[in-house]
């Protein structure tokens, strides 16, 4: 089922509805043109020996008709467009702080919550409730698009946009970057994870917890992983790479690599083989250090 026609929020549903009406109308208009053309090429095909028909040059009343009728159609479409826009769009300058801020980076999505929790790629929201999401960019223009949940919004550096984000029922809804943003535009996929309010509350509280110190953290710092990644929750700095404070609890690494046995180690060793051109260089660390880092990160749940 095409996600655009599989709406999972009232906002996405309103868009799917106006789209369906439009498709029916467009099909009717196409049939009028195709009918005229089809009828003519059958009925008025030249036969050998046919003389030229008597010239006719037009017909004023017909011309006026097919100027006015489309005009009326267009006015009606415009009225429906305005109504749907007002129904699905968040205010441009909301009068309250957002429930979460989503930031596009080359080439991953970051989400931060008011309690200081932050995560990457998997954006958790409470199901059945409309949340206000602020969309930003840390570098170039990206576009946040989860088609089952509603409109897309460009993430423009220096300019925030706001959308309503809502999913009626718990589940995972696929999303992708929808504005060309460089080499790994294709890899910039994400998921919106809607969960019951209690689960969401627990998750967002847990994400904000800092972890006990661990000997692996020393290696993380010595190998300069911390230059690009936050390892502690509630870190306000902007990093090149996604936060790792709770990496073990995420479902995917990079755009599409399931966070399964061995894949984290693969990512640490050769991220360029997974998403060529992404900002993380292949590490060339000795095997024992890769193992130690993997072990350490797998404790960050």
């Amino acid at each position: 089922m095409a996600p655009v026609f599989h709406p999972q929020s009232p906002e996405a549903h309103a868009i799917a509805t106006i789209f369906l009406y439009f498709l029916v109308l467009a099909a009717m208009i196409f049939l009028v043109v195709a009918g005229m053309v089809g009828y003519s090429i059958v009925r008025y095909r030249a036969r050998p020996g046919d003389a030229d028909p008597r010239p006719t040059f037009g017909h004023r009343r017909i011309e006026i008709t097919w100027t006015v009728v489309p005009l009326v159609i267009v006015v009606v479409i415009f009225a429906f467009t305005l109504r749907t826009m007002a129904g699905v769009d968040a205010p441009r300058e909301p009068d309250r702080p957002p429930d979460l801020t989503i930031t596009g980076h080359q080439w991953w999505w970051e989400a931060r919550y008011p309690n200081g929790a932050m995560t990457a790629r998997e954006i958790h929201i409470p199901a059945g409730r409309r949340v206000l999401a602020r969309i930003e960019s840390a570098d170039v223009i990206h576009d946040f698009w989860a088609p089952e949940l509603g409109r897309k919004m460009d993430a423009v550096p220096g300019r925030a946009g706001y959308i309503w984000l809502r999913a009626d029922t718990p589940g995972t809804y696929a999303g992708t970057c929808s504005e060309f943003c460089g080499v790994q535009h294709a890899g910039m996929r994400f998921g919106v994870i809607a969960e019951p309010q209690a689960d969401f509350d627990a998750w967002v509280a847990q994400q904000a917890e800092t972890r006990a110190a661990d000997p692996g953290e020393r290696l993380f710092r010595e190998r300069k992983c911390g230059e690009c990644h936050a390892i502690s929750a509630k870190d306000d700095k902007t990093y090149t790479g996604p936060p790792l404070a709770h990496i073990a609890g995420r479902r995917f690494l990079g755009g599409n690599l399931p966070n399964r046995e061995g894949n984290l180690m693969l990512w640490i060793t050769s991220p360029q083989s997974i998403l060529p051109g992404n900002r993380m260089p292949d590490s060339r660390l000795p095997a024992d250090e890769v193992q130690e880092l993997t072990r350490f990160l797998e404790t960050r749940r």
Partner: protein, 541 residues
């Protein structure tokens, strides 16, 4: 002093100021780059033929779609349309050349220079890879450090200059060199539309030039026009680019409308239905085309009221466009239709362009745009306009005017192969891309995950592209084969009505021995039918 040696063919073509030779140079340039841009498209379709392929590296893929779009717009459609215009406008108005023959030559060589510069980027460290729209800040130095984007901007500055040169020449030629009796209301529609289009070019190109100079300043002189960290704005680039970019869409499509407006009447054996409405709707499109650019930016948070204004204009422009389509269709009604290859392409144009026009109207419905912009639905839409519309009209124009240009008819059986392969291949390639957009596939991705239906639809699209590519090769083969072996055309193979058919095929340097009298829109009809001339009826103009 020794006598001047006889001029070789190469020197003749390099130094020509004859509008017909310059027109041919433009058209051959367009043909060459059509093959190049087509190969770039094939490389992309190969990479997308299955999920997670590694046929092209992502950087290479980005260069391919950037160069494909830039090439097809600036090095294929623009030179093809200017080439047809430069060749045909003087003939159609009964002149012996363009108003400024040397300027005409300059325009061509500047255009060619722009193309060479653009492609020289491959030798200079990599082709541009920020898309044909080259959005800042992705196209700025920190994110695109290699020289590709500089070559892109400089190449486009030259191409834009070439277009302006041609436009000035068209305006002056049409204003001053018309045959006696050819009033503005008797202009062939192709000429009428070329006139309006030239004004559009003159109005739209400055915005592109300004944007390119700002981009180059940012990149080379460390200016900050588009850098938000220093008070610049990435949205500024989008406004400038689309203030040029959307009128550009009409600049590309209007001459195609002009060709269709010439070809459908001749092969329906009837004058165009509603000449006045077809001409006036062109003016309406030109006027409205400057008020629709923000529909490329509906996904930016710009405010609902602001966006609504541009949505309204974008919907309104469907009305004059619809008028044109209905008038062409009405020209068929009651005719005596001759299905030459030119006419097949013209009729197919009507249907394919209507699909593209309607899917375009979808993007004026802002909520639909909020879902589908920058997805494969857009790719499908724009190709229904650019290929199903513009390229089909160019094929029709090629079959229609090739006999005038070369003196030979294009081969009709090959033309049928050309037509059916292109129609089938085109629709296979692009129709399924509508569905891919609905399935959530974004544009400009070098690969995609193996989601339900994505692989099979992309396979169909790639399969269609192969048929389309082969169909286009049949066209190229037909051109060369018919040039060598094609049947003699005579001056007026289609029993047509506009002045170019009164000249010899190919026309001599000065075009006409004497220009027939012009007392209506169809001077050759009047000549052939003294018993019922148009000037005695409503067709006089």
């Amino acid at each position: 002093m020794s006598p001047a040696p006889p001029r070789s063919a190469i020197r003749v073509w390099l130094s020509t100021i004859d509008h017909k030779q310059i027109g041919i140079l433009y058209m051959l340039t367009a043909l060459f780059f059509f093959v190049v841009g087509g190969l770039e498209a094939m490389a992309m379709r190969a990479q997308l033929s299955a999920p997670n392929l590694k046929f092209l590296a992502p950087e290479t893929y980005d260069q391919m779609f950037t160069m494909h779009g830039t090439t097809m717009i600036f090095l294929v459609v623009m030179p093809a349309l200017v080439g047809f215009g430069v060749y045909l406008v003087p003939l159609m108005v009964g002149a012996s050349d363009m108003a400024f023959p040397r300027l005409n030559a300059l325009g061509y060589w500047v255009t060619l220079g722009g193309g060479v510069l653009l492609y020289a980027s491959f030798l200079a460290g990599g082709a541009p890879d920020a898309g044909w729209f080259s959005y800042a800040p992705l196209s700025e130095k920190p994110f695109s450090p290699h020289a590709g984007s500089d070559y892109w901007a400089l190449g486009l500055l030259l191409l834009s200059a070439g277009s302006v040169i041609a436009a000035v020449n068209f305006v002056v030629t049409i204003a001053t060199l018309r045959a006696p009796g050819m009033t503005i209301r008797r202009l062939p529609l192709f000429v009428w539309i070329t006139l309006v289009n030239s004004v559009l070019i003159l109005a739209a190109m400055p915005a592109l030039n300004a944007a390119l100079v700002m981009l180059l300043s940012d990149r080379v002189l460390a200016a900050h026009f588009f850098d938000p960290a220093h008070g610049g704005s990435p949205i500024l680039w989008q406004h400038y680019f689309w203030i040029f970019g959307h009128p550009e869409v009409y600049i590309l499509v209007l001459p195609a409308f002009g060709m269709i407006s010439e070809i459908i009447p001749v092969f329906s054996r009837k004058p165009i239905f509603g000449y006045g409405f077809v001409a006036a709707s062109t003016l309406a499109i030109a006027f409205l085309s400057f008020g629709v650019w923000v529909h490329h930016m509906f996904a930016v948070a710009l405010g609902r009221v602001f966006i609504s204004v541009f949505a309204a204009a974008s919907m309104l422009i469907a009305v004059p466009t619809g008028i044109k389509v209905l008038n062409w269709a009405a020209t068929l009604v009651g005719g005596s239709i001759r299905f030459t290859t030119a006419m097949l392409f013209a009729v197919a144009f009507l249907l394919e362009f209507t699909v593209g026009g309607l899917s375009g109207l979808a993007f004026a419905v802002v909520p639909i745009d909020w879902q589908l912009t920058d997805t494969y639905f857009v790719v499908a839409h724009l190709h229904y306009v650019a290929f199903g519309g513009i390229a089909f009209a160019l094929f029709a124009g090629a079959y229609y005017w090739f006999p005038k240009i070369t003196g030979h008819l294009l081969n009709e059986p090959l033309g049928r192969w050309n037509f059916w392969m292109v129609v089938i291949g085109f629709n296979l390639t692009f129709f399924v891309q509508h569905i891919l957009g609905l399935l959530g596939m974004p544009r400009r991705v070098y690969t995609y995950p193996d989601l339900p239906w994505w692989a099979v639809l992309n396979q169909i699209s790639t399969f269609g592209a192969v048929i389309l590519g082969l169909g286009a090769l049949v066209f190229v083969a037909n051109l060369f084969a018919s040039l060598a072996f094609g049947a003699r055309a005579g001056n007026d193979p289609w029993d047509a009505w506009t002045l170019e058919w009164a000249a010899a095929s190919p026309p001599p340097t000065d075009n006409f021995e004497h220009v027939p009298p012009v007392r209506s829109r169809r001077p050759l009809w009047d000549l052939k039918h003294p018993e019922a001339p148009d000037w005695a009826t409503r067709g006089g103009g």
